[in-house]
């Protein structure tokens, strides 16, 4: 007698089951990666003695309740802010705390503006009615000013250190990238040097 073959399992509903799972995962998961502007808040303990900072080393940006910008006591449009901040940071009229002058600055060396990128502070003030969108726009332009300067510096010193045609943002990206083949310790040294030459000094205050 011929051997009877085992009956085939009906797999018609497999697709339905798989679809059910697929839809579950589509609904309960997210794909977007979080991104944003990173900041560090100042610690709350107030130091007893006020550090004296010369007025010319502070670049004040005030955003009022109507989202208007007041930069160094003058009205300004958002699109002009980045250039003004770059000019202020890159001024380099005098020396830093160690008495070194800024030999990489290309600013006007105006004595009424900042002494050294190391001393230059951007103070961002806002009022309670300021809109969050405008605040982020301003933050973005100020971070952009720092990044512009750092990019320029990276293109200057990069080739001598073996990193040709790479701006600061690409350097940072490569340093984090596991697939990038290259000397990472050397790259990190360059990044740290640039960070030290143009430190990000941005203070945020809210006027009550």
């Amino acid at each position: 007698m011929a051997k009877r073959s085992a009956p085939e399992v009906n797999a018609g509903s497999m697709a339905d089951i798989a679809f059910l799972l697929l839809i579950f995962f589509l609904v309960t998961t997210t794909m977007e990666k979080d991104s944003g502007i990173s900041r560090k808040l100042p610690p709350i303990e107030e130091s007893e003695e006020d550090v004296i900072i010369r007025q010319r080393n502070i670049f004040t940006v005030l955003i009022n309740g109507k989202d208007q910008l007041l930069v160094e006591d003058e009205l300004m449009e958002l699109k002009d802010l980045r250039a003004a901040a770059v000019e202020f940071l890159d001024n380099g009229a005098s020396t830093n705390a160690d008495g070194k002058s800024c030999d990489y600055c290309r600013g006007k060396k105006d004595t009424n503006s900042s002494d050294h990128p190391d001393k230059a502070i951007i103070s961002l003030k806002n009022e309670r009615e300021t809109s969050y969108a405008q605040y982020i726009s301003v933050q973005n332009e100020l971070v952009g000013a720092y990044n512009d300067l750092r990019n320029r510096r990276a293109l200057e010193i990069g080739p001598q250190r073996g990193f040709r045609d790479m701006n600061y943002l690409e350097m940072v990206k490569n340093a984090k990238d596991v697939k990038w083949s290259g000397n990472k310790t050397k790259l990190k040294e360059v990044i740290d040097q640039i960070k030290l030459e143009y430190p990000q000094k941005l203070s945020e205050v809210q006027e009550q």
Partner: protein, 160 residues
């Protein structure tokens, strides 16, 4: 004569669907691998502002989320139209942030606590008063690393 008999009727042969489960499983595995579980259900409007100098947040497990914005249409009746804070799945007051941060910290290993970042997901129509209050609260509990969540785009999009 029956050799060339017309085929019966015009009915089409059934499409073979044997490979359908394979295709769907492939999609399923793709989504399982490429996505992460949603953490909170938003009860507020949350349109993030645009910015082009943004950094990506690595390590999703070391991020705490604080949402803020106007209550979405379902909750307008109970909560009003003023911008509110949302922690986890519920509306919260400013003074509940400290407890939230401490609870989040308790779930993480101690050596990772200094690396915790707070991501502020604030609606672009909110005003800075609320954000300032959140920042002040975060300073009180010494959660100083923050990230203003934004999406990639030109800042001119913020002006609408």
């Amino acid at each position: 004569m029956s050799k060339f008999k017309k085929k019966k009727g015009g009915d089409l042969p059934a499409v073979n669907t044997a490979s359908l489960p394979d295709i769907v499983f492939m999609l399923l595995f793709f989504f399982m691998v490429a996505t992460v579980m949603r953490e909170n259900t938003l009860k507020i409007e949350n349109k993030l502002p645009s910015a082009d100098q943004i950094e990506k947040l690595e390590k999703k497990d070391l991020v705490m989320y604080i949402y803020a914005g106007k209550p979405s249409s379902n909750y307008k009746k109970q909560m009003g139209t003023e911008a509110r804070i949302q922690l986890n799945d519920n509306f919260a007051e400013v003074n509940e942030i400290a407890a939230f941060i401490n609870a989040e910290r308790a779930t993480k290993r101690e050596e990772l606590i200094p690396f915790l970042t707070t991501s502020l997901k604030v609606d672009k129509d909110a005003n800075m008063g609320l954000v300032g209050d959140i920042k002040q609260e975060l300073r009180k509990v010494n959660a100083l690393k923050i990230n203003y969540a934004a999406i990639q785009g030109d800042v001119s999009k913020n002006k609408q």
